[in-house]
């Protein structure tokens, strides 16, 4: 693949960002194999171009909503990998305090308003965030990344309809990795697919090869520009392929090795590297980027491993302001099995 006049600096940045996502997930899988990740992991290996191509066009205070397969999006939006790794291991200092794990990874400090464990639920939440942004008139935009499985849930219809009728500043990205959990999405989806459904709701769709990071980047750049100019919602269909199973422990027997091998040949990171080499970037430079990413994520993992469990009292914080639980008994957690509510009348007090 050889394109004229490519911006090698920008493409190199994508290469680095994708390598970081890949290295993060490889480190996380290593930790899982060592029994250090207590919950499920949904890897996005093979889908890194979507994360990098989308987030390269977002400002830090732009808002992003993601899915249960959201490590890449979160990292590309600017979250700290060590805090993320601590979260995956359920340790103190995790970006959600060890209370959410991989499926609920979030970093509000970089505008990442959360991965969501309920498929499609983030679509309406994104529309609402965009509604607030428009109401506040602060110039931010919202991006919502969801999978191809989400188009069969009601929130896809309701959320896109909402964004269109209120002309909201939101980019919908359907990261189509071919599978809805462990079922081929095409087998359970009527009609011509996500783009046609968006079109039917008055949102012109753009389709892109999701393993070509530059193509994703350029498509998103144009769409984001249109949204920032007040053009209302936009829709991008990113066609890619999930190289791992649904979860890290899913051996994916529902597809052949030949099929997966053929898809590995389209690995977005390898493609990006080949294009950079063709444009004159040396193999040594690319190797150094890969190694730096691997070292960074290994260090994040080592730091997470060394971190303690969260303080047990955290189980009872962030529940709610009024009527939150308190552990009964004399010590901080004595009689934890007899947790009961504290119900003193509390005067209301808003903060915002």
């Amino acid at each position: 693949m050889r394109r004229p006049n490519i911006d090698t600096e920008r493409l190199t940045r994508h290469f680095r960002d994708m390598c970081r996502v890949r290295a993060f997930e490889e480190a996380a899988l290593k930790a899982l194999a060592e029994g250090l990740v207590p919950g499920p992991l949904h890897p996005s290996i093979g889908q890194e171009a979507c994360a990098s191509g989308v987030c390269a066009n977002l400002e830090c205070d732009d808002l992003l909503l993601s899915t249960h397969r959201g490590h890449g999006h979160t990292l590309a939006k600017g979250a700290d990998p060590e805090a993320m790794m601590r979260e995956l291991l359920g340790r103190a200092g995790g970006c959600c305090g060890g209370k959410g794990g991989s499926m609920h990874i979030a970093d509000f400090g970089v505008g990442m308003l959360g991965a969501n464990g309920v498929v499609g639920a983030n679509i309406e939440i994104a529309a609402g965030a965009a509604h607030a942004v428009k109401l506040l008139g602060d110039g931010r935009i919202v991006t919502c990344i969801f999978g191809d499985g989400a188009v069969n849930r009601g929130p896809f219809l309701e959320g896109l309809n909402w964004a269109r009728i209120f002309d909201l500043p939101v980019l919908f990205v359907c990261e189509d990795n071919t599978f809805a959990a462990t079922t081929r999405t095409a087998a359970v989806t009527a009609g011509p697919g996500p783009a046609a459904r968006a079109e039917s709701l008055g949102i012109s769709p753009v389709g892109v090869d999701g393993n070509d990071v530059l193509a994703v980047d350029e498509a998103v750049r144009d769409l984001v520009q249109a949204i920032r100019a007040g053009g209302g919602p936009r829709f991008l269909h990113v066609k890619t392929y999930r190289l791992t199973g649904h979860t890290a422990t899913d051996a994916a027997p529902y597809r052949t090795t030949e099929e997966v091998d053929a898809q590995w040949a389209l690995d977005p990171i390898a493609r990006c590297g080949a294009e950079l080499e063709a444009a004159g970037i040396t193999a040594e430079t690319l190797d150094a980027i890969r190694t730096a990413a691997a070292n960074e994520m290994d260090a994040a993992l080592e730091a997470a491993k060394a971190a303690p469990w969260p303080d047990l009292s955290l189980a009872f914080t962030d529940v709610q302001d009024i009527g939150a639980p308190v552990p009964a008994g004399p010590g901080p957690l004595a009689g934890i099995e007899h947790v009961r509510a504290s119900t003193p009348p509390i005067a209301p007090g808003g903060t915002a």
Binding site: K99, G100, A121, E124, E158, I322, P325
Partner: protein, 324 residues
């Protein structure tokens, strides 16, 4: 003090909070034309279509949108039209609004109010009449409020809007026209979690909420004629509920009747009865009684609907039976 209806009091609360805070806005079906019961009438004229938002019939999107809007820095007030329709938005309320703060480790709160009109409203039948408050009391993260008077509908709704937690705010449809004295001014705030002793008495405690408060007061008046002094506690907030006021009353009277319009089985009366059993056992002089609807769907024909309703006579009979 001004005399106004329960409906007008709710509207006044929202209007005052919207005037005081530009981040407060409302969204729901038909709001631009005043809402299905007229509880938003005139607000679109004052605040514009950007802040009194006419939504499509998409309950899930209305609630989901409110979650996102709360996370992004505003304070949405959601209108669900009938609490029955809010069941279309349970994922958005239970899995999203109630959990976002916790599962993201406290990075954001979710200050939204979900107004969900409840209760039997003549011949509205099975899908427009339910009282499902106990469902929401079971969900960590939610506050559940059920006002019974115009004054409380103003003061509790204002508090709910200022609260940083997601609040399920259940007005009773049969109370819209109820008139009462309502304190004027911006600072009439009724604290969430504080019950109201609607009537003092020493012989039996009747704990109730929402429209059933009025049946309980009627019952207390008829009990008084037989020389029985009932104490009526209007719980006002179901989560958190005011254990202190309820326990103190039960220690005083030694007898407890809990009365609500919802189905008795797994109704919130069960939680109150169990808690009183645990905490006030030594003070009880009679078994605890729970009164609620039979575990049946709510019927359309007026006489069929009426046999499902907990009325003043049933409450008075139950209370009197504890004393004999």
């Amino acid at each position: 003090m001004t005399t106004m209806t329960y409906l007008e009091a709710g509207k006044a609360a929202l209007a005052e909070e919207m005037r005081g805070n530009p981040r407060v806005w409302a969204l729901g079906e038909d709001l631009g034309r005043g809402g299905v019961f007229g509880q938003y009438r005139g607000l679109a004229e004052e605040f514009g279509a950007e802040r009194i938002v006419d939504a499509p019939i998409s309950e899930a999107a209305i609630m989901g949108c409110a979650v996102g809007a709360a996370l992004a820095g505003t304070r949405p007030v959601v209108e669900m039209r009938f609490s029955d329709f809010a069941l279309c938005a349970v994922d958005e309320l239970v899995n999203q609004a109630a959990k976002a703060r916790y599962m993201f480790g406290g990075q954001s709160k979710v200050p939204l109010v979900a107004r969900e009109p409840v209760g039997m409203w003549r011949s509205s039948a099975a899908q427009h009449s339910q009282s499902l408050e106990s469902w929401y009391t079971h969900i960590p993260g939610l506050v559940v409020v059920m006002p019974s008077t115009p004054a409380d509908n103003k003061g509790l709704l204002k508090s709910a809007i200022r609260c940083d937690d997601p609040v399920v705010y259940m007005e009773h449809k049969d109370l819209w026209g109820l008139e009462g004295e309502v304190p004027g001014g911006d600072e009439h705030l009724v604290p969430l979690g504080a019950a109201r002793v609607a009537l003092e008495g020493s012989d039996v405690t009747i704990v109730t909420w929402s429209k059933t408060v009025h049946a309980a007061l009627d019952a207390a008046r008829s009990l008084a004629q037989s020389g029985i002094a009932a104490e009526v506690i209007d719980l006002r907030t179901l989560w958190p509920w005011d254990t202190e006021t309820v326990y103190a009353s039960v220690w005083k009277t030694g007898r407890l009747v809990v009365a609500h319009e919802a189905v008795t089985v797994s109704g919130f009366g069960a939680e109150i009865a169990a808690s009183v059993g645990e905490e006030c056992f030594g003070g009880l002089r009679a078994p605890i009684r729970r009164l609620g609807s039979p575990r049946a769907q709510i019927a359309y024909a007026p006489p069929l609907e009426d046999v499902l309703r907990v009325d003043a006579a049933a409450i008075a009979d139950a209370a009197a039976a504890l004393i004999r």
